[in-house]
Symmetry: C2
Subunit: 323 residues, 2 copies
């Protein structure tokens, strides 16, 4: 009988998430283990292998039932060899042969890509992307990441740096410094810390009644979530912050639209928990910055898979590459 299942793995600094999916994208089982980063992260791959073998036995499955294993990983991945380099949040200081070890232990084909690209594949396949060939995914979290699927394939570029949406420059003059060395990157104004940074900047010139503005002036700790909650409750200062962040996101999404004309640009990650409140504002600016065909055909959407995007996308990687 032909293999009909896929194992998707989402490797993160805190947990490793696993899923057993059908080739149609249905999650049949999912579980997670703690990421043990002790001893230079040398336990991680053996733990992953043991967990797979254990679950396959537990569910009375056979490795022959599986088409392959896909994984999203932090760090710099090598698509050909399946190795990972410089994944510092895993304590991996050198190159780790993730693919070779997992393939050897399971006898299954193994495919890997970076976590943002894999999440993009997940949202594209079973999430808001509706399995269209052209989908851009933007994730707003502690940083801003993303992935681009164009013409049905992930865009990697010449050195695997394609899809670095967080480093699109949206403030070309007098922008905030970014960890990448540039200034004015989207990440500096639309990540969780970026939203707060925009708030602090706008606070300097703002006058009026606002509880959240008062908190900032008083030197209290304020989070991006606090700002969105206040904005939804009608705080005019918080609304001006959300508007500014939406302007930057709308500009970046607009130029992604003008460049790639995807079916949709899907916004996910923690900051996107603000939901339709944020989406509608980003869309307003997106429509301001796009030319007619793109306005009409590229949609701004919210991600729908949440934390499952990683395992779903990892499974999708197997279908995409195992040809």
């Amino acid at each position: 009988m032909a293999a009909t299942k896929i194992i998707g793995i989402d490797l993160g600094g805190t947990t490793v998430k696993f899923g057993i999916l059908t080739t149609a994208g249905e999650i049949q089982d999912q579980w997670a283990i703690e990421t043990n980063i002790l001893d230079d992260g040398s336990h991680i791959v053996p733990d992953i292998i043991a967990s797979i073998l254990h679950r396959v036995e537990l569910y009375k499955l056979d490795l022959a039932d599986f088409v392959g294993i896909g994984m999203g990983s932090p760090g710099s991945v090598n698509l050909e060899t399946g190795s990972v380099t410089g994944a510092y949040n895993l304590n991996w200081k050198t190159t780790v042969e993730v693919g070779k070890e997992i393939s050897a232990a399971t006898g299954l084909p193994f495919f890997i890509d970076n976590d943002a690209n894999v999440a993009a594949l997940g949202e594209r396949w079973m999430g808001a992307g509706e399995n269209q060939p052209d989908v851009v995914f933007v994730t707003l979290g502690t940083g801003v990441g993303g992935g681009i699927i164009a013409g049905g394939q992930l865009i990697h570029g010449v050195s695997n740096a394609g899809g670095e949406i967080g480093h699109i420059v949206v403030v070309p003059e007098n922008g905030f410094e970014c960890t990448c060395g540039s200034k004015g990157c989207l990440e500096t104004v639309a990540s969780a810390t970026g939203v707060v940074r925009v708030a602090r900047q706008l606070a300097e010139e703002w006058e009026g009644n606002s509880a959240i503005h008062q908190q900032i002036d008083d030197g209290e700790q304020v989070t991006s979530k606090d700002i969105f909650v206040a904005a939804e409750a009608g705080d005019t200062f918080a609304l001006s912050v959300v508007d500014k962040v939406s302007f930057y996101l709308g500009l970046a999404c607009g130029n992604l639209g003008n460049t790639l004309n995807p079916d949709s640009i899907v916004i996910g990650g923690g900051v996107s928990a603000a939901g339709e409140f944020l989406r509608a504002r980003v869309e307003k600016y997106f429509l301001q910055f796009t030319f007619p065909t793109v306005k009409k055909t590229t949609k701004i959407k919210l991600a729908t898979l949440g934390n499952d995007a990683g395992i779903v996308g990892a499974a999708s990687l197997v279908l995409e590459r195992n040809k």
Copy 2:
């Protein structure tokens, strides 16, 4: 014997250029005919067919020697049916079945794409792109156009508007109005007329000795070429204009780099006749706006094929699609 030649056609509003190329990309013969746009452009396709048949006979070739025919066309092209809609500079007011007619008359497979995409394919195959799988082409002429090749394929997007680099917004606030309805598009500041527009804007606030500035103040007609010539001769006002245009181009190219990480971004078209003088300045800003991996791996280059990019790219289209 297997077919080893390709016909590439570059359909323009003034002339139709033809090339007979080998499958290795060598131009063996090339010629051109006038584009007869009379009678709603109804002579154009028959003229093209007659010219092909005539040349094949003249060179004592056989249609069986050809793999197929490729064409770059203005207007909105349908990749599946080979038809063209709304090519107003050809006087084509409705949909014209270019592909069906040419295929029927020659018995050869026919492939079409829009002229900017086809020029991008040409520069990528035999020009500055060095046949890399990831190349972006930007053409600076009366407008600003372009094409994106990523992962070895042209990016079309959901509604064939991918690669509209001229409509990347580089002046998000207080930008010039664009013909597309947006404001601040790259085309408004980096096309031939855009360069002059930037000059007129900067002229208002500029003081000093400059012949070209004087010409503008005197209401004389000034072209983008005049400005580049003056800048190369050391005119400080003209240099400030070139610097500003390079800033916008560097920002757009930088964000294309951050998004797609191509091997190269190739600049062509009339304005790029300014050559290394312009390229070096665009590169300076490109390096300012990109993150480290892109700085190191994405190159800014000048186009090398000139007017031949169209026929070469049209031939390349046949190799790409005829599978």
